[in-house]
Symmetry: C2
Subunit: 472 residues, 2 copies
């Protein structure tokens, strides 16, 4: 691809091993296979379809607790199947890998509750089994119930989670990048040596939260470190992303906001001595497409009927049931009289907004700038703006209906984007997920990435500078 | 199967995601695919083959550290590829499940280092994806390096590991058996209820080592609790098995010893209020078979050439390199002069045995009573004795060569056992792994098993009696 070529769209099929991931209530729509999320065939079908559509990856969200703020219990989450029941996403990858050759896999895992040594081995195993097709979405977990499932009385404080995560990543890098030399396995029948011991080393990590001796139990895989995804808008999150992330989930309500977020994130990357181009930006996008604008609009209307406001409130961790108030009350009034919170939903409302308009806004299930309903032309026009004006690199395609949403995208949008030179027309066989995002020959993290220092064993015992938000 | 029918053999293909699992040195044998253990195709081929042979399961061993006692380093283990490099066995199961319909999967996981909440979800996920085909080999881990990879300075003391494991199992049972009622998922579009909240509950476990709130994130799978395998000959291990295990790995050098071990284990089961028949016994077996006894003998001789004594010493955690002594020295002398240990190998030697005879014994790679070389008739005769005289129920078939060992068994032994009514002639479609071992209709743990008490939610908060070896 030359510099003059137009930017191509990266697409991840955005999924979660549950009934209701983001677009709540849609499990009731006819033909929706969400209840089959616990069957292997659902996931092999998903992966096969994503590969048919030449998607970059199937991307799996995750939580490890319940949304229990709304009504102060798990009840509404259970009733509405909001991310419970939910399976372990790591376990889906090998099954999907067994029926595909090229599509990648992004999988969410939290740095807060499980030991890094075991996770390092799990991801290295996946990278081997998929031949370099895995990415990891780094999260630090935010649900109180998640903390309580792992022996903590309440959430680990936000910034402290990132301090912990920073050390977690450090341990992983030492195992993935530093413990085994590239040429450690010699497999020499003659001299009776399988692995050359002087090319493998213990990491002897001793830090604030972790002590890990090593060696890593797994020899180098194609990518060594999986592609590092991250989503965070907080100051601590951006500082962390500046050091670690390769692909950042971003967003915004306007082009200016999106561009501002991208610019800010790039600055953090550069401050950590990395190249600004080593960071890619992906947004969650809602795309409802059909042959014509009118048909797409009708599809949207038919979907909207199923949307569950209660589930949206549960998902946002809202403590307030907006439906109990008068439509002409304002958000500010409710806040003042209730003394309760809207959870993550708060940032979507203005204080002077009426409850009625807030409820309508929720029911439209729009999400910021990256939502489009229309014909292939309408959708492709929007996507070109997202790429060129907002400056994003790709989307996580939200599922309204499984598997209609993915099928519609493949049938209507992919050919139109291909015509415009905005989408790959085939996979590069044997490509790693990192090379797919960062170009040929980039199977490994670039030299400026902090993980790369551990390729020099002399660096294994020199602690990195703490992140700048780190206290104590 | 009526009471008069002869006992049928259960067979697990014994594997580990590494080059050299038990029969060391064989990676050098021509055509052996051991070095492909890091490819998905190796495991899908293994599973397909096991299913072709109507095996009960593919059974995966595991370690989470290195064998570092021999030479006081990891060097020899690496050189000989003794269980390093090694992949995470949990990750292999979904890939193998994707290409099979009936064969089961046994997977090893340690209760000592990872949080029970995450493991509960992982296994429940596997039970869903495989539609009830999974078993868990409960281990507590014994390698010092494993402890050091998870933040401990040294191994957790043996008996304390079992106290911890007992609580670990208790947490798992509460999540698997008690947190969700069978009919919790109603999926009622009309009333807009996916899961009925009054049929799901938190477990609120607070114990010595674990605090876990719940609810379990996964709805009931076909088996709920995976089939529980265990291997242990120690007093604490047997007491633990008496409460928990459904399938126990046992062994012995003579019929009397094997029968004694089986009898003792059954007594422990009965002491825990369970039925003695609720425990099955499996031994690790080495079978080298060919068309004739002579041909099998030649195959054995050809394998023996590759066997690595050094790797066997590494695997046994021997601190002493026997090869450095005179062949006519005795084991007792070496022990006295060196003040070092033979590790797990010690119990295989008599004090008055010469070093020469000990080395010969190791090089024969025989392992107790369950080793046979011969024609289909010779092997089937041996197996009938194992079933009827020793009283075992099944074998873990050791791999000498991948996949020749499994193929030979399928080609030569299976038809002969079938002729004798000692082996299934087809799978019962849709059978769970538990039903395969315990008969039709037994997808779940029996009522007398301690896990079953949690099916009554009133029992969730009553702690079980400590195991009788428990101190403090």
């Amino acid at each position: 691809m030359s510099a003059q070529d137009p930017k191509r769209l990266h697409v991840n099929l955005f999924e979660m091993a549950c009934v209701s991931h983001i677009v709540h209530g849609m499990w009731r729509a006819p033909g929706n296979r969400r209840h089959e999320f616990d069957r292997l065939s659902f996931w092999t079908d998903t992966a096969t379809l994503a590969e048919e559509g030449l998607f970059d990856a199937v991307f799996l969200a995750d939580v490890i607790g319940t949304y229990d703020k709304f009504g102060d219990s798990d009840d509404a989450a259970l009733r509405q199947s909001v991310q419970i029941p939910t399976l372990d996403p790591l376990m889906l990858v090998p099954a999907m890998a067994a029926v595909t050759k090229n599509v990648g896999f992004g999988v969410t895992f939290s740095t807060t509750y499980e030991p890094p040594f075991a996770f390092a081995r799990r991801m290295a195993t996946l990278d081997h089994l998929t031949s370099g097709r895995v990415g990891w979405n780094i999260v630090t977990s935010y649900l109180r119930n998640a903390a309580q499932n792992f022996g903590y009385p309440d959430e680990v404080p936000h910034d402290d989670r990132y301090v912990k995560a920073d050390e977690y990543l450090d341990v992983l890098y030492k195992l993935w990048e530093g413990s085994w030399d590239e040429d450690a396995i010699v497999r020499d029948v003659e001299s009776d040596v399988y692995t050359s011991p002087d090319r493998v080393r213990r990491i002897n990590h001793v830090g604030r939260d972790y002590s890990v001796t090593g060696p890593h139990l797994v020899h180098p895989s194609r990518q060594r470190t999986p592609v590092l995804f991250q989503a965070s808008g907080s100051a601590a999150g951006l500082e962390f992303a500046g050091r670690h992330a390769e692909i950042l989930f971003t967003g915004g309500r306007s082009t200016d906001e999106v561009r501002g977020n991208i610019h800010r994130a790039r600055e953090h990357t550069i401050a950590h001595g990395r190249d600004g181009k080593d960071l890619r930006f992906v947004v969650m996008a809602g795309i409802i497409v059909a042959r014509t604008d009118e048909e797409a609009e009708r599809k949207y209307e038919s979907y909207k009927k199923f949307f569950s406001v209660e589930a949206a409130l549960v998902h946002a961790q809202a403590e307030v049931d907006l439906r109990r108030f008068r439509r002409d009350d304002t958000i500010a009034t409710v806040l003042a009289t209730e003394g309760k919170a809207f959870g993550n939903m708060a940032r979507r409302f203005r204080p002077d907004q009426t409850i009625g308009s807030a409820l309508d806004q929720i029911s439209r299930f729009e999400d910021g700038r990256f939502f489009v309903v229309g014909s292939p032309t309408t959708v492709a026009d929007a996507i070109e703006r997202w790429l060129d004006v907002d400056g994003i690199d790709g989307i996580n395609l939200r599922q309204y209906h499984s598997h209609d949403t993915a099928r519609d995208f493949i049938e209507y949008v992919v050919p139109e984007l291909q015509r415009r030179g905005r989408y790959r027309t085939s996979y590069t066989d044997g490509e790693t997920l990192r090379a797919r995002f960062f170009g040929d020959g980039n199977a490994r993290l670039p030299l400026q990435h902090p993980a790369s220092r551990y390729r020099d064993p002399g660096q294994l015992h020199i602690p990195p500078t703490p992140l700048s938000f780190a206290t104590a």
